[in-house]
Symmetry: C2
Subunit: 241 residues, 2 copies
DNA sequence: AGGTGTGAACATGTTCACAGCG
DNA sequence: CGCTGTGAACATGTTCACACCT
């Protein structure tokens, strides 16, 4: 048990009245939220599990089970009230709180994320940018001036940053991470291809874009190999579908 | 079984002589590969499962099991030969083949990915860029001129693109995806927050950055709630509300 | 009828613990 | 002795199938 973990646990306390939510369900709930929001914009006020599951790309039983973690907000024979679901998913995901994002490392990726509409549009305003490069300090990127990494702790506290996004080179990632934590940040999205060392009260998610490509590469390799011209002997568990 | 899936299956054919690899192991193998490459650069020629697992942020038993899918390339009492492992992981992941990446949608994110060093550095040269905007066509981004999306099928065939990266707005994503598939692309990395509809011989991975933030938000919300000063009554697994 | 909510079966993934090799 | 490789136990996640409500 080296690194911190979180099974599907949850306590019942005041503003977080939901029962245990499995890790895997959390990610899907965020997807349902996006689909629902878009459906509401199109005037849809009710959806069946089948419809919503189709739009989210999951099995309808999985979807119903996921929604059951919110409580029973569906109507049998009818479906789910879209607005009501949105409300509860947002509550479960903690989106009713204020969130404020800091991006560290204003290179190609950091620059893009600082300007990325998807963040503010979905409730995550970017309120601080940091870099080491003196030439960048003070330069506005997406309307926000870049601060020096040394000021991370102070600025994060002042602007109540809740999420730090690390887009620095690998070598700087751990250092920057420690600075963010010193500034009170407890949630970190890490684009640098290193495993960050943090205390158990800090949550880190890593996104390694090259790893994504490598996984795709694997499936392509396997597909070509699997595409043997001979009929499959059914006794071997191999490739099916 | 609506959507395509891939259990940990694999056939033994000529150039793909590895046994079944579980889905979850594939992603980790890509991580081990990065760690190993970096270790080799630092002159490390042998590593124990404990060391490698630590650097990759996983349990050592998990690591050994993952590596066992490659075959038995460790030495008992000693550890693993780093160079040999790299070789085999690369082979398993299909990285010995030529890969060529096309980025579609040269907005903030597309621009960043076109310039992202992590792609070419890890064996994925970007060889084509596409956008709809007439003002962008022909403009070089990262040394490569942008082509019109209409030319996707032709250009992808010509440059033997194997992986397409979609950074367009959601509304254009399915259309662009179909164009890529028409151009022979069978692996797609999708940054648009929509579920792409593809035939089963196309592999899609989605990266939804806002969903990542929402997952972080959830854990922070839960942590605050869970940080109740009272000891947990274990008997009540109770449901909220 | 029509669709939710969920126990139970199944599938996948992770960790333990130790035999056995170098 | 030390560390790999792996069966078996455990944990998590997914899907089925149907009772039950509207």
């Amino acid at each position: 048990m080296t690194v911190h973990e979180h099974g599907g646990c949850s306590t019942r306390v005041d503003d977080f009245p939901y029962r245990a939510v499995p890790e895997a369900a959390v990610g899907r709930l965020a997807v349902y939220l996006r689909v629902l929001t878009s459906m509401i914009e199109h005037g849809v006020s009710t959806m069946s599990s089948e419809e919503l599951a189709g739009a989210a790309g999951v099995n309808s039983a999985t979807l119903r089970k996921d929604l059951s973690y919110l409580g029973s907000y569906g109507t049998r024979g009818v479906g789910y009230d879209t607005a009501r679901l949105v409300e509860h998913i947002e509550r479960l995901l903690g989106l009713t709180r204020h969130h404020s994002v800091a991006v560290v490392g204003i290179g190609n990726l950091g620059h893009a994320l600082a300007n990325y509409r998807g963040f503010p549009d979905r409730g995550f305003p970017v309120t601080a940018l940091f870099d080491l490069d003196e030439d960048l300090i003070g330069v506005p990127v997406g309307g926000l001036p870049v601060d020096h990494v040394d000021s991370i702790p102070a600025v994060c506290k002042e602007r109540e940053v809740t999420i730090g996004v690390i887009c620095t080179p690998s070598t700087a990632a751990q250092w920057v991470c420690d600075l963010l934590v010193a500034g009170g940040v407890r949630c970190i999205l890490n684009f640098a291809p290193v495993v960050l060392q943090v205390s158990e009260d800090v949550e880190v998610r890593r996104v390694d874009l090259a790893v994504e490509l490598q996984i795709l590469s694997f499936y392509q390799a396997r597909r070509c190999a699997g595409a043997a011209p001979v009929a499959q002997p059914v006794d071997s568990i191999a490739v099916g579908r």
